[in-house]
């Protein structure tokens, strides 16, 4: 009976099931079901993490066939961290979404099924050890995300969804071509089988495959200059959707890029290619931050902030490629910590943003006066999330920055230090652009309504988590190291 309660398959099955049921049952009961189920998923993810810490990485053969004939799932520390992040972000957001859609019902009907499928896709993606299976999860993820963007309808969201759809399809098309080339070269799509086969001097097809898959993932992760689809998509969707997309969806493709780079294609990687990724990351940090600063709409500002924060993730590549193992470990830890911290903080920020928009009835930074007085908790959450994004202690963002800075200095790549520091200052500039407005008294003629408590507290929970991550990040790094020692 213990097998029946194995958390690993349930993490995928459960959201698929409740997503489907939520479609059948409708939003009211579906929402309640979703909250309960996500809570259960959180418990499962924790259980899985515990298993991993106790007994190391796990491989799970679906259907009992085993690779290369069947499909393997694989759970190591990295996957477990991402799973934890996913459930940790999803639970408060689910609570938030129930309150949000009660106040602003546009798009409420199908939110839960989409979210269920989205979470299933994420969990499946993090656990998959099969290139083709990953393709399917990518498509499931992409279509769920596009559906969520379009959920509220209207010219702007539909345009954004259209653009997003093309971007994600092109990305997964490139991925699939890569998979085809790999299968055509080696005859398998199992990561476990392929990893020992690929070595420096692999055939051209493998190089092409690596480049295609990587490029496809960059497109889906919205790394500069492929961020074009992200701000409208994340800025136009309802707040819980934006939060899910910014916090989790782009992390999934980043996770894949990391996996490919560090494991499957590690023998092919070069310093030059890593530097290229780093340069794009740096450009993303600067460009995204500057554009965030120029926005007049609150959600667009937060969306551009995501563009910038994605850049930090990619600094990990030059810092972890062909450097001493200790430096690489610290860079990896920093990158993953950044992914987690940004996930929590950005979810909090979008949630807080949504509350402010609900309260003021408009999405305009210059009309935020009075928010500080009426929604102090929400503004506080926004501020805390901002602290994480700025990388100020004691937040998860700081821990990430600390680790990345440390490895940059250790490996003598001081230019990334400059980028990170400047990025942090620019982040502060746009975060305070919002905060200072919100501190002002309410302008005559504006209204600031109260919002449901659940909105305020769920955003606060996320923001608090992003801060606490900085104080209690050590266990997370311990988990991350599982399956990585060898």
């Amino acid at each position: 009976m213990t097998d029946f309660l194995d958390p690993l398959p349930w993490l995928i099955m459960l959201p698929l099931a409740w997503g489907t049921l939520a479609f059948v049952l409708g939003p009211g009961r579906g929402g309640r079901l979703a909250v309960a189920a996500i809570a259960l998923q959180g418990a499962l993810a924790l259980q899985l993490a515990g298993q991993l810490i106790d007994s190391g990485a796990r491989v799970y053969a679906v259907g009992g066939w085993g690779a290369p004939l069947g499909i393997d799932l694989m759970a190591d520390g990295l996957a477990a961290v991402m799973l934890l992040l996913t459930q940790a972000v999803a639970l408060p957001l689910a609570v938030y979404a129930r309150g949000y859609f009660a106040a602003s019902p546009k798009g409420r009907e199908l939110f839960w099924p989409f979210t269920g499928f989205l979470l299933a896709a994420l969990n499946a993606l993090f656990l998959s050890a099969d290139l083709f299976n990953i393709y399917v999860t990518l498509e499931l993820l992409g279509l769920a995300a596009v559906g969520l963007v379009a959920i509220a309808g209207g010219r702007q969201p539909v345009t954004a969804a259209m653009r997003y759809l093309f971007a994600t399809l092109l990305g997964s098309g490139a991925w699939l071509l890569g998979v085809a080339l790999i299968y055509g070269t080696y005859g398998s799509v199992s990561l476990a089988v392929l990893t020992p086969l690929i070595h420096a001097g692999a055939p051209l097809a493998v190089t092409l495959a690596a480049a295609l898959m990587l490029a496809g993932l960059l497109l889906k992760t919205a790394l500069f200059p492929f961020h074009f689809w992200l701000p409208p998509a994340h800025g136009g969707a309802p707040a819980p959707v934006s939060a899910l997309l910014s916090a989790l969806v782009i992390k999934a493709t980043f996770y894949l890029a990391l996996r490919l780079w560090l494991e499957l294609f590690a023998p092919l990687t070069t310093v030059a290619a890593a530097q290229l990724l780093g340069v794009l990351g740096a450009a993303a940090i600067l460009w995204g931050s500057v554009l965030a600063l120029t926005q007049s709409r609150l959600k667009m500002l937060v969306a551009y902030s995501t563009v910038a924060q994605v850049g930090y993730l990619f600094l990990l590549f030059p810092l972890a490629t062909l450097v001493p193992p200790g430096t690489a470990d610290s860079a990896l830890a920093g990158g993953v910590m950044q992914a987690v911290a940004h996930g929590l903080a950005k979810a909090a920020m979008f949630a807080a943003t949504g509350s402010m928009i609900v309260a003021t009835g408009r999405d305009d930074i210059s009309r935020l006066g009075g928010v500080g007085a009426r929604l102090p908790l929400t503004l506080f959450s926004f501020g805390l999330a901002g602290v994480t994004l700025m990388g100020l202690p004691p937040s998860g963002g700081f821990s990430a920055k600390w680790l990345l800075l440390g490895s940059a200095l250790e490996s003598g790549q001081w230019w990334w230090v400059v980028v990170m520091i400047v990025g942090g200052l620019l982040t502060a500039a746009y975060v305070f652009k919002v905060l200072r407005r919100a501190f002002l008294p309410r302008a005559a003629g504006d209204r600031v309504a109260r919002v449901p408590r659940t909105l305020e507290f769920s955003a606060f929970a996320l923001a608090l988590a992003s801060i606490l991550l900085g104080l209690f990040g050590a266990p997370l790094l311990e988990l991350l190291a599982v399956g990585r020692e060898a």
């Binding site: 700025m390 202690p393 004691p394 600390w402 440390g406 230090v417 942090g424 502060a428 104080l471 790094l477």
Partner: protein
């Protein structure tokens, strides 16, 4: 004997009230006041216990591992307690003052919330046991003070807040780089007497000098070293209690205190000397001292004049740190306390003038000594103390700085001290002259609080400055007594130089 929880409790004793206050309704004045004062008194109690303990050789260390190789350490050593006691005592007074000052003003819950956070950060800065912990609270301080600076919400305040943030966050960034670099080079750098870096191989000297520059530049922003001081005079748009706190204990002090920690307990004074770092630091401090005073000379706005005075005065601390020898150390450390007491007095008084009579400018102060003798008395004590007139607190600092300069073989510092004192006199004495000796011009700019019997202004506004003015007198007059700031500074200096004093 180690008790880990007291330092944490000291931090929590203002953090928790602060967080609760945030969510209190504006109208719950009594509960808010109770929370504020309870927090301040409880904190004082804890500190009292630790003072007694440290005197008797106890250790209070709280340690929590954040990441591998990155510990959050709160360590209440003698140096920390010097600053913590100052902060806690002045916090109590400032809270009282602020309650009086903000009576009837809007957004008080927010104000007192951030106010408490600000003190939390200051206490954390004081007790930080390593550079990381220091950095953590240093940045928290930045964030907690920003809302206080822009509290009034005017364009001027927002602009000042903007500049303040730009400076302090950039400074924080430099500090971060330096810290990370140092950790990469030397591993976890705890604050220990005599520093720990001298054990590094000699090849690292160049890097260490560069790191020192980064750290000092980062800390120098808050300590308002010229030319990093631009934010400070602008930040004086904040309400008077905030300015008082900012200038006396919180922000500038945190920077100065950080420099103290870096020089003494990261690098170690001897090692810093051997790396030839102290002379440039002394020069930077001297330039700041003179420049700040010169600028103060030309300000008509009272608070702005005081702000430039702070620029100048805080660098006395830095100067003391840069003087190699226990006497200079004592001078710097004791000025940490003395400057706080004196400057908070001056800002309280400036606030009283503004709040009672609407006086914001020096040129409006003619004859104010007749109308508000007690406030002006307190102001005079603070100002004379700043000039270094004995037996007030500032004299003691200057004396030890002077002796320390000779001990360190930098007699030119005496000239700096003398020049600065003259400049201090040049911008403070005319104020006193106006206040005491000139006849009042007839009507005050905006008399808000009328004379009520013996009270020239609201009692809550008057008691804090009088108390701190009395402290200015007492710390100077009884500098030689036990438990005076000077004797505590001596205790620290003796421990710092244990290896050095034969």
């Amino acid at each position: 004997m180690s008790d880990p929880w007291l330092p944490a409790l000291v931090v929590l004793s203002s953090l928790l009230p602060g967080l609760i206050i945030f969510f209190l309704a504006e109208s719950r004045i009594r509960l808010r006041t109770t929370l504020n004062l309870t927090g301040a008194l409880v904190k004082l109690g804890f500190i009292g216990v630790m003072l007694w303990g440290v005197q008797n050789g106890r250790e209070y260390v709280f340690r929590h591992t954040v990441l591998p190789g990155l510990d959050l350490v709160l360590h209440a050593d003698a140096l920390a307690l010097l600053f913590v006691s100052l902060s806690a005592v002045l916090w109590l007074f400032t809270t009282l003052y602020a309650i009086g000052y903000l009576e009837g003003a809007p957004n008080r819950s927010r104000f007192f919330g951030f106010f408490s956070l600000c003190v939390t950060a200051t206490v954390g800065v004081a007790m930080a046991g390593n550079l990381f912990t220091f950095f953590l609270f240093y940045e928290l301080l930045t964030l907690a003070t920003y809302p206080l600076v822009v509290h009034r919400g005017t364009d001027k305040a927002l602009r000042a807040g903007h500049v303040y943030l730009a400076y302090t966050l950039a400074g924080g960034a430099l500090l971060l780089i330096g810290t990370v670099w140092l950790y990469g080079l030397a591993g976890q750098v705890d604050f220990v007497h005599g520093g720990s870096l001298s054990a590094l191989p000699p090849e690292a000297a160049g890097q260490l000098q560069l790191i020192f520059l980064l750290l000092i530049a980062g800390l120098g922003v808050k300590a308002a070293l010229v030319p990093l001081h631009g934010w400070l005079p602008m930040a004086m748009v904040a309400p008077a209690p905030v300015s008082a706190l900012l200038h006396a204990v919180a922000v500038v002090k945190a920077g100065a205190f950080g420099i103290v920690r870096v020089v003494y307990e990261v690098y170690g004074i001897e090692f810093a000397q051997s790396l030839a770092l102290l002379l440039p630091l002394a020069i930077a401090a001297s330039i700041t001292i003179i420049w700040g005073s010169l600028r103060a000379l030309f300000q008509d706005d009272l608070k702005k004049r005081l702000a430039y005075s702070t620029v100048s005065q805080v660098s006395y601390i830095v100067l003391g740190v840069a003087l190699f020898g226990p006497l200079g150390t004592m001078g710097g450390l004791v000025h940490l306390v003395h400057q706080g007491i004196m400057k908070i007095t001056l800002f309280f008084c400036a606030g009283n003038y503004a709040e009672t009579l609407g006086i914001h400018k020096v040129s409006e102060m003619d004859g104010v000594g007749r109308r508000m003798p007690w406030t002006t008395l307190a102001f005079s004590l603070g100002a004379l103390g700043m000039i270094g007139v004995p037996p007030l607190a500032g004299f003691v600092s200057k004396w030890y700085l002077g002796v320390g300069a000779l001990e360190a073989g930098m007699p030119w510092v005496l000239a700096v001290l003398a020049a600065s004192s003259l400049l201090n006199a040049a911008y403070f004495l005319p104020i006193l002259h106006r206040a005491w000796f000139k006849p009042a011009s007839g009507s005050w700019p905006d008399e808000k609080i009328p004379q009520r019997g013996r009270w020239e202004t609201a009692p809550l506004l008057l008691i804090p400055p009088l108390a701190t003015a009395a402290a200015t007198l007492a710390t100077g007059l009884f500098a030689g007594a036990a438990f005076s700031p000077l004797s505590w500074a001596e205790l620290i200096a003796v421990r710092e130089y244990l290896a050095w004093i034969p």
